[in-house]
């Protein structure tokens, strides 16, 4: 593995405390765009992971009930490329809250209305997280591809008119001292595109997959050691409270599905075993906490 740099066998081991968050790689690695910073290099032709069917998802949902899973997350690839997506959301929202991580481009007015109907029919929250990586067309499209900004903003607008407050999820690709300028830029842009109360979530970049090629990847000292974990709150690691189901079984976390060792089994039960924090991406989780979860779920794991 490219991101494995340690050679000695004393990786810190982490155990699943409780399965609070169940993720689904519902669109596999298939996406309608090819972002320059994608940590699992999704694209229209990357079939490493295939779409999950309604039945596959539902089996895991059923298994999740007795385990007391608190939140369900759907990612890809682009989840709305999955033809079963609406049916999957309907079923999920019978059981608990759902969050979809999308690029927003496929959320045309009819689909936004359908999402509203599904959301209105449930007592639980349906969160839509739309990834946008620049507050100008140029800044965004440089990373996410030509024409993406306009379509994503249309998706956001369609969600907003249907009573959603999408969480705009931004991967940080700028310098520390530009934080204020970028945040203000995003807020102003979103307001001017018909989203008066924008919600933002800033993520650090994960320097694997295509992002490793775009930047220089991790430095060789960036990994987690036993010494770093003395008095450390282990629930900061997403793998202390989460697993991700895919078309090829259950993996330890959404970031590491390209690593065969992160496949922990075919059922949630099998995937409840511990895991060694041997990947450099674990270092990002160590630094920033469980970055993948929603803000509303913090307190438990961030």
């Amino acid at each position: 593995m490219q991101d494995l740099i340690k050679t000695k066998q004393d990786y810190p081991e982490i155990f699943l405390d409780s399965l609070d968050h169940l993720w689904f790689q519902v669109a596999g690695t298939l996406c309608n765009i090819k972002c320059e910073h994608c940590f699992i290099s999704c694209s229209p032709t990357n079939h490493s992971f295939e779409f999950m069917s309604f039945e596959q998802v539902n089996n895991y949902l059923e298994e999740s009930i007795s385990r007391g899973v608190k939140e369900y997350y759907f990612t890809g690839g682009e989840p709305f490329m999955n033809k079963d997506m609406f049916k999957i959301l309907e079923r999920t929202l019978e059981l608990g809250p759902a969050t979809v991580l999308t690029n927003g481009m496929l959320i045309i007015p009819e689909k936004a209305e359908k999402l509203k109907a599904i959301s209105d029919n449930s007592i639980y929250s349906l969160e839509i997280r739309v990834s946008i990586d620049g507050y100008t067309e140029m800044m965004n499209d440089e990373i996410r591809g030509k024409g993406v900004f306009k379509k994503a903003m249309e998706g956001v607008r369609n969600l907003v008119v249907n009573n959603f407050l999408p969480i705009i999820t931004v991967t940080k690709t700028w310098e520390e001292n530009q934080d204020e300028e970028v945040l203000e830029g995003f807020i102003n842009t979103l307001k001017s595109h018909g989203y008066p109360r924008p919600r933002l979530k800033i993520l650090p970049s994960i320097k694997i997959g295509k992002e490793a090629a775009r930047t220089k990847g991790y430095d060789k000292y960036e990994y987690v050691t036993n010494e770093m974990l003395v008095d450390f709150e282990m629930s900061n690691f997403i793998c202390a409270n989460s697993r991700i189901a895919t078309s090829k079984g259950v993996y330890v976390c959404p970031i590491l599905i390209d690593s065969p060792d992160a496949n922990l089994g075919n059922t949630l039960e099998e995937a409840s075993k511990g895991y060694e924090l041997k990947h450099q991406a674990c270092y990002t989780c160590y630094l920033f906490g469980a970055i993948c979860s929603n803000y509303s779920s913090v307190g438990r794991d961030a």
Partner: protein
């Protein structure tokens, strides 16, 4: 035997509402009053809260704020991750820490993290955030029923009560189990109303029901005191308008859309 108890959620230094709430609960003839933590934060002059609780012999569950203040931690453990939320949380935390007497800090340090009692045949468990973690948010729209069932089983309780989120809700589920978020009396519920509220849990004909009791209090007096203490205008606006202006990013979609900001 207990039949009717008052459960008071986050106080957030709102001593005016606390006094009013205790009077109201007594007037309604409760057998006991419990407070579920987060005594400081947000409001003015935290030291005014403690005598009301101590003089009335009100058992208190330790909240994350109380745990932080009494142990001299760097922040309130409120679980905010948004920079703006953290900015306001820090202002409030530093103020509360500075204005809390050491004697009260010591008193808070030894508060229990849970209180258990029986209401008829029902085993009631009071916690601040959740039984498993003091600062866990249990919002109505992000807490599945099967999750609550597991909590009841894991913690051997029939009725679990919590506060922490700032918005009251309740759900009954199978085998006569019950979850109740009792609300808070520290600030209004982000619905444009200025009142706050607490919960009465009452045993009636062998069933327990939770009733949320709105409490009108002199919120203008509180706002005046907050102004004198130079607390942020945004906090005062919440007290006067009933809308949350800060620490909004932790709200799930459905709770957030109901608010103004």
């Amino acid at each position: 035997m207990l039949k009717k108890v008052a459960l008071i959620g986050g106080v957030y230094s709102n001593h005016i509402a606390l006094k009013k709430t205790v009077e109201d609960a007594k007037q309604k003839g409760v057998d006991a009053i419990y407070c579920m933590g987060d005594l400081g934060a947000f409001g003015p002059n935290p030291d005014k809260v403690f005598p009301i609780l101590i003089d009335n012999k009100i058992p208190v569950v330790q909240g994350n704020y109380d745990n932080s203040i009494s142990n001299g931690l760097d922040d309130c453990q409120c679980g905010y991750t948004d920079p703006r939320d953290n900015y306001f949380a820090k202002l409030s935390y530093d103020y509360t820490f500075r204005k809390t007497n050491d004697v009260f800090k010591l008193w808070m340090k030894h508060l229990p993290t849970e209180i258990r009692f029986e209401l008829g045949n029902y085993k009631v468990l009071l916690s601040h955030g959740s039984p498993r973690q003091m600062n866990e948010f249990l919002w109505e729209t992000t807490t599945p029923t099967h999750f609550l069932e597991k909590l009841c089983a894991d913690y051997n309780a029939d009725i679990i009560c919590a506060t922490h989120t700032g918005i009251h809700w309740e759900r009954k589920f199978k085998d006569d189990k019950y979850f109740v978020n009792v609300g808070v009396i520290g600030r209004p519920e982000n619905d444009g109303n200025t009142f706050v509220g607490y919960t009465i849990l009452e045993l009636e004909n062998d069933f327990v029901n939770a009733k949320y009791i709105p409490v009108e209090y002199d919120h203008h007096a509180l706002a005046k005191e907050m102004k004198e203490e130079k607390l942020p205008e945004q906090f005062i606006e919440t007290i006067l308008s009933g809308w949350w202006t800060t620490c909004l990013e932790v709200l799930p979609a459905k709770e957030r859309i109901k608010g103004k900001f």
